[in-house]
Amino acid sequence: MSDSQLSATRAPSAGVSLFHYASPQTFFPLAGKLLWPSWIAAVALTLAGLYTGFFIAPTDATQGDSYRIIFIHVPAAWMSMVVYLAMAFWCAVGLVFNTRLSFMMSSALAPTGALWAFVALWTGALWGKPTWGTYWAWDARMTSELILFFLYCGYMALQAAIDDPRRADRAGALIAIVGAVNVPIIYFSVKWWNTLHQGASVSLTQSPSMASTMLTGMLLMALAAWAYTIAVALMRVRAIMIERERQTDWVRQLATGETKA
């Protein structure tokens, strides 16, 4: 029962030098190089996914064409969880190795994760109306998604409320990690509650009529969502780096165009 492990991690670590790209200065140009491939992949995969989803995948026997919402709903729901885990991962790395860049990564991911959670909720509601006859059912997935959305909001609100960037990073990291520990508990509890109160809900992905082309469309869209998330997070982390490091020489040279990145 000692907090010395936790507080000891705040000391500068000798291991930092191992992470070559952990310094904002070296990561900035790398992020810039990765940006265009990510955007191209995002656009290409989206086009391929939409074409497969709308023109190749057949109409579903039971749900009709309303099922085509899952091409964004399912990837959005996946991404909202993946992004939260990625965020918590970067926060943990930041706390352990004391790397500023990790905290910047997690702040860069949060708004996109919240966006995906919102999209999952929105499309879930619009899919629920024709399928369940109601926009909002207290279904286990939808309820956990809603709580996940609130977790994102809490993380961002906490960071926004703290002026000192170092305190904002660390306090945000702590709540992100506590949240990540809680996500499985929340999902389990909501699922458990749900089975007690009503019958099992219609499952989106386990529908027996799921044609392989439908699955292909969904996977393509999921990959597109990955690419988009990477691209937009890289863009945002570059902006954050400039904002946070505005007093350093490399940012000043960058902004005045004296060296190209």
């Binding site: 010395s4 000891a8 705040r10 500068p12 170092r166 007093q247």
Partner: protein
């Protein structure tokens, strides 16, 4: 008192950033047994920030703090048990009497000084007549004395870190405190303090650190 090196606390290439302002940088200091260090500097030069870094409440932006020759973060428990910090806030509860306050502070610090020593300290610092009065009805200077009584009762700490200890004290209390500081130095302890009023403390070895030189 383990540790073979002479220095009690040592700081290398320290810099401190608060918000977006750089308070000081490139600061080195070494403090050994029996030494008194007065930290001077203009308002906002980072005196309080330096003291908080010295006791581990704040992390420096860069640089290193060493305790008895070892990196302070690696000997955190020894570091904490070897120092006594009094900030400009008194840590005195309005609803407690002076003695209750002193007992609570000792308990929080993990200090097992017996009750009669604490009582003696309160009497020595001139609060003998006000032992049963809640701190709420004490004057500003008397509340400060409640906090400072910890120093008089302390025999455990090697380093005292005092942020404006003389503020709000009358001449009698200043004399008591400076005697206590001199006695601590004579015992082989060290003191880092800030002050706005010139106070003569009897010390064999003294240093003055002006933070304006490092801004």
């Amino acid at each position: 008192m383990s540790g073979s090196t002479a220095s009690l606390i040592e700081v290398r290439a320290l810099s401190c950033v608060r918000g977006s302002a750089r308070l000081f940088s490139g600061l080195d200091l070494i403090l050994g047994a029996g030494e008194l260090m007065h930290v001077a500097g203009a308002n906002g030069s980072g005196k309080t920030s330096l003291l908080r870094i010295l006791c581990g409440l704040s992390e420096p932006a860069s640089g290193e703090v060493r305790w008895r020759g070892a990196p302070a973060a690696s000997v955190r428990d020894d570091w904490r048990s070897g120092l006594l910090y009094l900030g400009h806030r008194n840590a005195v509860k309005d609803d407690f009497t002076p003695l209750e306050n002193l007992r609570a502070s000792a308990a929080i610090a993990g200090d097992t000084t017996p009750g009669d020593v604490l009582l003696r300290a309160l009497v020595d610092i001139g609060l003998g007549a006000r032992l049963d009065v809640p701190a709420r009805s004490l004057s500003q200077g008397q509340r400060r004395r409640v906090a400072l009584a910890r120093l008089l009762a302390d025999t455990r700490s090697a380093l005292w870190i005092l942020d404006e200890p003389f503020t709000a004290l009358d001449t009698g209390a200043v004399a008591v405190l400076s005697r206590a500081m001199a006695a601590h130095l004579a015992r082989g302890g060290a003191i880092v303090y800030t002050t706005h009023q010139p106070v003569d403390i009897n010390a064999a070895r003294r240093q003055t650190l002006n933070l304006d030189d490092f801004s």
